[in-house]
Amino acid sequence: MRVVSKREEAPGVRTLKLEFLNQEHHEFFRNHYQTGMFGLYGIFGEGESTFCVASPETRKDYIECTFRQSGRVTSTLAAVDAGDIVTFRGPYGNRFPIEEFEGKNLLFIAGGIALPPTRSVIWSCLDRRDRYRDVTIVYGARTVADLVYKNELDEWKQRDDVNLVLTVDPGGETPDWQDHVGFVPSVLEKVAPSPDNTIAVLCGPPIMIKFTLNALEKLGFSADNVYTTLENRMKCGIGKCGRCNVGSVYICKEGPVFTASEVQAMPQQDL
């Protein structure tokens, strides 16, 4: 795929917008991609990395991925420029069942670099706004600089059909920061809508997920109405290489999207 553009989101975090070079591949993607799925993005000579497809299923002319520069492949991907070619395999995995969310309130909760998978669901729903009721987005990062998709955060803030709640960890605020200061779970307890007829979508680092699930439980959310993603190390993405499983569950095929009750049923030591 060809890199159309590259955007700096935060220190070490970039978004690549990719377009298909091959019509047949594009057609396959159009027919198969649904929000929540992931792909393997690669550079020959370096290898492949797993990222979610950060663009929504309502916009399939291109693929966007957002990643943190953390190792070998992501460092090379971070250095590509518009016009360069990267490889893509996918879309793989399961999806958020967003048609089941219709007629309900939506609560999106994301931490740090985990906004990309959430953002794909958010836009997939906002692009069909009339099908859903109240939309609340709670997004937290360590510092103000670490918030990704700053343009879109502004856009959501302007919209009166979206309630955006931003927070940064204590010490991460700037002098002119107007929003919350505090960790996601505690802010959530203050701002969360009623669990009645509400679906929660939660993505973040394992430690944040753990505490946020506790908070949601306290707020009265049923574990069946909370969706999250598991991001185990993957290689093949197609249920062969044997590394992504948690207990008997192949995350690459049966995931990465699970309800909190499905996650609770897995052997916790394997997570």
Binding site: F44, G45, E46, G47, E48, S70, G71, T74, G83, I85, T87, P205, P206, E231, N232, R233, K235, C236, I238, G239, K240, C241, G242, R243, N245, V246, G247, S248, K253, P267, Q269, D270, L271
Partner: protein
């Protein structure tokens, strides 16, 4: 009346198979470890081995296998998929446990996405198995509901004759029948007594062990630490196992040209599941050993209806610290209520 293949006609069969376009692969002593290798004549075959140290898996899911060749030019990447060659192969002198190993792995390589590298080789191979008349103390096929003449995965089964002159030949599949057609003139129609099969004692109660493994309360049992304390995580048990199939994908080359390869990997290695963040779900050797046992005797059965162990005993035979599936399942059987 059955068909008999005499030892003295084996070389004629080899020639016939070669003229029919087959390569012949058999147990051999030509490498450091005994293994399956292409042979020129019957004299090169090590048919006296109970079991070669390496498995026929090597020829279906090789230790390292090229997937794609790439060449990067300005604004363009040329790629070429590197599927295995279309060569037809006869595997002669396979043991029932190794043949069963192929059968066990078929559903894994076939679910959802069909792995062409595996199935192209499977479709071009004929498995000629020799039923076992001798076993060693590590053999345990009978403990996993297989046995010294189990037909699973074989196209032809050879039963050694009592007088040692050769084998009685039983075809099991169409592929086996087609191979037999090529050597009909070399065979005799004769009644002959076959040698008695190896006596392989049952070492553990696999049903009981599976029940224990299926109980979530035992997942965090102290048992796992105790049983795996001496594992050094070398991975030998997985590499030499006919059913272990985990792999890694790595690029070999530079920014301009090279090959993307699939290489064996092992759940015994700490890096196997390590996230880039440093978080590792299976961060101790006992969790990794538990994964190997659970995968073989619980998860795999749940997904594909069979256990992922054919009872070859290699994981015990070859382990540098004397561990293995046998000991673990014996301990489970002994302690389980």
């Amino acid at each position: 009346m059955t068909r008999i293949l005499l030892n003295s006609r084996l070389d004629d069969c080899l020639s016939a198979w070669r003229s029919a376009g087959y390569r012949v692969i058999a147990p051999s002593r030509s490498n450091n470890l005994t293994s399956f290798d292409e042979v020129a004549s019957a004299a090169d075959m090590a048919l006296d081995l109970v079991l070669p140290e390496r498995t026929i898996k090597d020829h279906f899911f090789p230790q390292t296998e090229p997937l794609v060749r790439y060449e990067i030019k300005k604004q363009q990447i040329d790629t070429e998929e590197m599927l295995p060659p279309d060569d037809k192969r006869v595997f002669f002198g396979v043991r029932p446990c190794d043949a069963a190993g192929l059968d066990i792995d078929d559903p894994l390589f076939g679910w959802d996405y069909k792995d062409q590298y595996w199935f192209k080789r499977r479709e071009n191979s004929v498995i000629v198995t020799i039923a076992c008349t001798k076993a060693d103390p590590f053999c345990m096929c009978t403990s996993v509901n297989l046995g010294p003449d189990n037909p699973k995965g074989s196209d032809i089964m050879l039963h050694p004759l009592k007088d040692g002159r050769g084998w009685q030949m039983v075809t099991l599949t169409d592929r086996g029948k087609a191979l037999l057609e090529t050597v009909v003139p070399m065979l005799q129609e004769d009644a002959a007594e076959t040698a008695s099969l190896a006596n392989v004692p049952v070492k553990f109660d696999v049903e009981k062990a599976m029940t224990w493994l299926a109980d979530p309360a035992n997942f965090e049992s102290h048992f796992w630490k105790e049983i795996s304390q001496r594992c050094i995580g070398c991975g030998s048990c997985t590499f030499l196992c006919p059913t272990c199939h985990c792999f890694d994908i790595q690029d070999e080359g530079d920014t301009y040209s090279g090959i993307r390869r699939k290489n064996w990997d092992s759940c015994s290695f700490a890096m196997f599941t390590m996230h880039t963040s440093g978080h590792n779900p299976r961060n101790t050797q006992s969790m990794r050993w538990r994964q190997r046992i659970m995968h073989k005797f619980n998860y795999y059965r749940g997904k594909f209806g069979v256990n992922s162990c054919s009872g070859c005993g290699r994981c015990t035979r070859q382990c540098p610290v004397d561990m293995g599936i046998t000991e673990t399942l014996q301990e489970i059987t002994n302690t389980a209520k």
